[in-house]
Symmetry: C2
DNA sequence: ACTTATAAGTGTCTTTATGACACCCAAGAT
DNA sequence: ATCTTGGGTGTCATAAAGACACTTATAAGT
């Protein structure tokens, strides 16, 4: 019997269900800004365990439909928000015997950043049988989320805060065009500190990530130049230096 | 029936095996330096699939013995190297339908850095029925590793290289005491570039991570001061600035 | 029409950290 | 005694962020 015959015979008699295997899920921290606050999308669990609790959206990979875990994450995101091309990043995987009463379980945590205004499914929408809600990060961390989802949310926010110090990530939360002050406000909102206007503009200027759209935003004051993402824009662009703010680890 | 009675009834009738669940493993890139080369610990697979191929050590979480995936990683590491307190970090999780012929599979990739000299199990050791080997990174990436382990190894090395630019991580690869030149050589080996002696020493001096051990190393030339980790040492210490080297993404 | 408040946007000096590189120093080898 | 060699330092240049004052444009109020 050749090696490859031996291997195919082995595979034929192999059944994954013969082994004890942990539960394996994908959970998502979907983050947007609305009304000047960082918010996260939560769903109310319609099934046990933790029935009735608010939780991060997520669930099992559908082995028939999803070719990879990123596909699962994209599918979940599209189901909840209608958004197809978000900023999506894997944060970490947490697995242990205690986090789910059903038994040993692992979750792959993703976080997504989206422009709230681009949402096709908004406040209080009901997808399937589940109630969904945008809740401010602050409230979400206080309100007894299901499982260890408060921990997961903290991990996602910490990642977002850290990356905001040295990358252009928050631009993913902005609409098509925006002013530099609006963008700076977004950074400040995420970091929870105020930033130096000059330094902020210098970084962006030097990065070449944005170009003026030509238009101006006329508000009650002096009009502000509108910018949009340039051709060379990448949301994970790394600036040469860190913003010197100390972030409170949640 | 109260909510909690309803929930416990649900849990009693719940069987994880009722659902299609992916295979879920932990794989490890265990890295050390020997003979002036970055090396990775590989095991030769004694079972199908990919029987006979070299692979990163790893395997299924033992739901009976391991309380968490970190516990699984620590156990695997101790089994292969005898080392209990390494630098250990989760890199990423990869899951898709193609990476394992047995079916949809997810792996949680960890990487560990250890001081080769502190190993209790060395070259060519046989643990259980598996042959193990330390192979240079360069060779390992060329030699057709099992599954997608070449990809996993590249991800681990890229992470190591990136972190070496702005953290003190490589100190985890050093013995108890060492000279600054030896440490710099370690950084250079990982990054694949030479570094400025002065800049390198300044960063470490300013960090307060090391203190002189009092002793000197007497070689054929001028003796060099020996240093050890100070009380405030943390391997994930972040330096204020980046080392300005461009690293070839593998 | 003039003034004022306010947000947009700029000029410029300081501070911090790394890069570059020349120089000095200590010990064994000759 | 001198040479060689790697250990270790002094110092100026450069890059990027921080601090902060200043100018500018607009709408609203008088």
């Amino acid at each position: 019997m050749t090696e490859s015959e031996s291997e195919s015979k082995f595979l034929k008699s192999y059944n994954p269900k013969d082994f004890d295997s942990p539960l394996c899920t994908v959970d998502m921290a979907i983050i947007a800004v609305e009304a000047g606050e960082l918010k996260v999308l939560l769903v109310q669990r319609s099934e046990h365990p933790h029935k009735g609790c608010w939780a991060l959206p997520g669930g099992f990979a559908d082995l028939k439909r999803d070719n990879s875990i990123e596909a699962t994450a994209h599918r979940k995101l599209a189901e909840k928000t209608g958004i197809k091309t978000p900023y999506l990043e894997q944060v970490e995987s947490i697995g242990n015997a205690m986090r789910d009463p059903r038994g040993w379980s692992i979750t792959l945590l993703y976080f997504a950043l989206i422009d709230f205004e681009a949402l096709s499914i908004k406040e209080g929408a009901v997808t399937g049988s589940e109630q969904t809600q945008w809740m401010s990060i602050h409230d979400a961390l206080k309100c007894e989320l299901a499982f260890d989802h408060a921990l997961l949310l903290r991990k996602a926010i910490n990642r977002l805060r850290n990356k905001t110090r040295y990358t252009a990530l928050p631009i993913s939360l902005m609409p098509e065009t925006f002013t530099l002050t609006e963008l700076q406000t977004m950074f400040e909102l995420i970091l929870g500190t105020s930033l130096q206007k000059k330094s902020f503009r210098r970084r962006l200027e030097a990065s070449g990530l944005l170009i003026g759209s030509g238009d101006m935003r006329s508000t009650a004051r002096r009009p502000a130049a509108l910018f949009k993402r340039s051709d060379s824009f990448k949301s994970d662009h790394v600036f040469p230096g860190l913003l010197d703010v100390e972030i409170e680890s949640l």
